[in-house]
Symmetry: C2
Amino acid sequence: MNPDDFLDAYLKDRQKIIEEALQRYLPDEDAIPQELHTATHYSVFAGGKRIRPILCLAAHEACGGDLAAAMPTACALELIHTYSLIHDDLPVMDNDDLRRGKPTCHKVFGDAMAILAGDALLTEAFVLLAHSEKVRLAADRRLAVIEEIATAAGIAGMVGGQALDILAEKNKPDFKGLEAIHRRKTGALIIAAVKTGAILASASEQKITALAAYGFHIGMAFQIADDILNVEGNREEMGKSTRSDEQHGKVTYPSLLGMDAAKKKLAEHVDAAQDSIENFDSRALPLRVIARYIMERKS
Amino acid sequence: MNPDDFLDAYLKDRQKIIEEALQRYLPDEDAIPQELHTATHYSVFAGGKRIRPILCLAAHEACGGDLAAAMPTACALELIHTYSLIHDDLPVMDNDDLRRGKPTCHKVFGDAMAILAGDALLTEAFVLLAHSEKVRLAADRRLAVIEEIATAAGIAGMVGGQALDILAEKNKPDFKGLEAIHRRKTGALIIAAVKTGAILASASEQKITALAAYGFHIGMAFQIADDILNVEGNREEMGKSTRSDEQHGKVTYPSLLGMDAAKKKLAEHVDAAQDSIENFDSRALPLRVIARYIMERKS
């Protein structure tokens, strides 16, 4: 099998088992109020790439763990990611009408229900992480995972990054400022994804540190690729507006560095990600292939 | 000391130590972005009554625990309560301009920063609950506390209750519907406060159940008292608009039952709360006095 076919089959397979798990873990259909259930499901099952849970599972397997033990954590990461998209898309935030080719949550359910759907998904992520029946794992390891994810999603991480991003509309950041935004807004949760996968497999400190570096570079690469796709991408394939960054006067890697230098930066991060895990054995193959996918993806 | 003096001194003392702990636990002042730090601190230190943390600590002591072990949990409950107020006050939700005598978070910092401040406080609550250095407690007990609080704050609890409340604007609830809203919106987190206080003190199942019943009745009493104060309260003492429920055509206990029956219902819940903990020893005195306070408070 050539690497592209492997990647394609691998991602599809992982997306499928993650989506089945998300269906099992989310509060079931007779949950009330029905509207909140519908709004959360709408956004969770709107066709995401599932990069964070896939990375968590891949890091877990690269450290010798088995899928089942990391599945609740992988899904919790996706719930948190989805909540962040719902809130970011709100009219008072980034005001996006389209996400993954579908109307955004607030366009369908209204702003109030979208805010609550986001709040609900963030909270249910912690229900899932703490729920003791679902996975038999040492309690202290599960506490470490909760702390890692909450910290990455909190003021020092994702929420802080989104606040910096909102403030950057008024005060355009320089390159250092732009990196600070993305390290927190995108990077922190991706780092948490691979670190928690490793923690759940009882990996050594050395492996956890190596995976954190991999996660950092993958996260930055992911963001630069997003910025590039926003300029060069195909609206149909992307399922969302392209060139919107330019229209909104948003500072991006291509706008700050120029397109060629942005692409070079992207390749450097992907190389650095590969280098971070060079001492891992063949069980890290998916992590290596995902790093390439980040650079080459079309949507 | 007569009961009123005791209550007054007790509440003031507890508010003080809780506020000192909140100062310690929140990310420190050089956290960036400064705006997010300022917005979260503004709302957390806007003069709340600290009922949920006080109940958590009181339940903990009633079960023989010492304050320090329950303080992070008590403060996490207050962070979650504060986040819920910030989001509830937003223009697209209840649209309140005044809270505790001060302009609401979004009036001062704008809607986007208020949404993020709420998201940040909810997330930091879980950082605090999971952070392993702060309190030496068995990991499985701390996981049980996280699950209890996340469930109470989630779809089956507070967020679900707020969604029902928003939907009730279009479809006016009957008495059963109103109780369902408040059991989730107000009751669930108050029940979690006393239950987690007990869990952290390694209380027996019997005691935890008794305290959950106490929490349920206190929660309902608290909400009925709120509805009554909205009609009869003094705007100055309350620090927020009174008679706003009537103006917004909101269904309340007095509007559904009449004022006399609402007051009778309030007294019944307070009596039932007292009955729930009649087998507790003198260490439950604060819980008993708080139950009376709920009924007699002026703000």
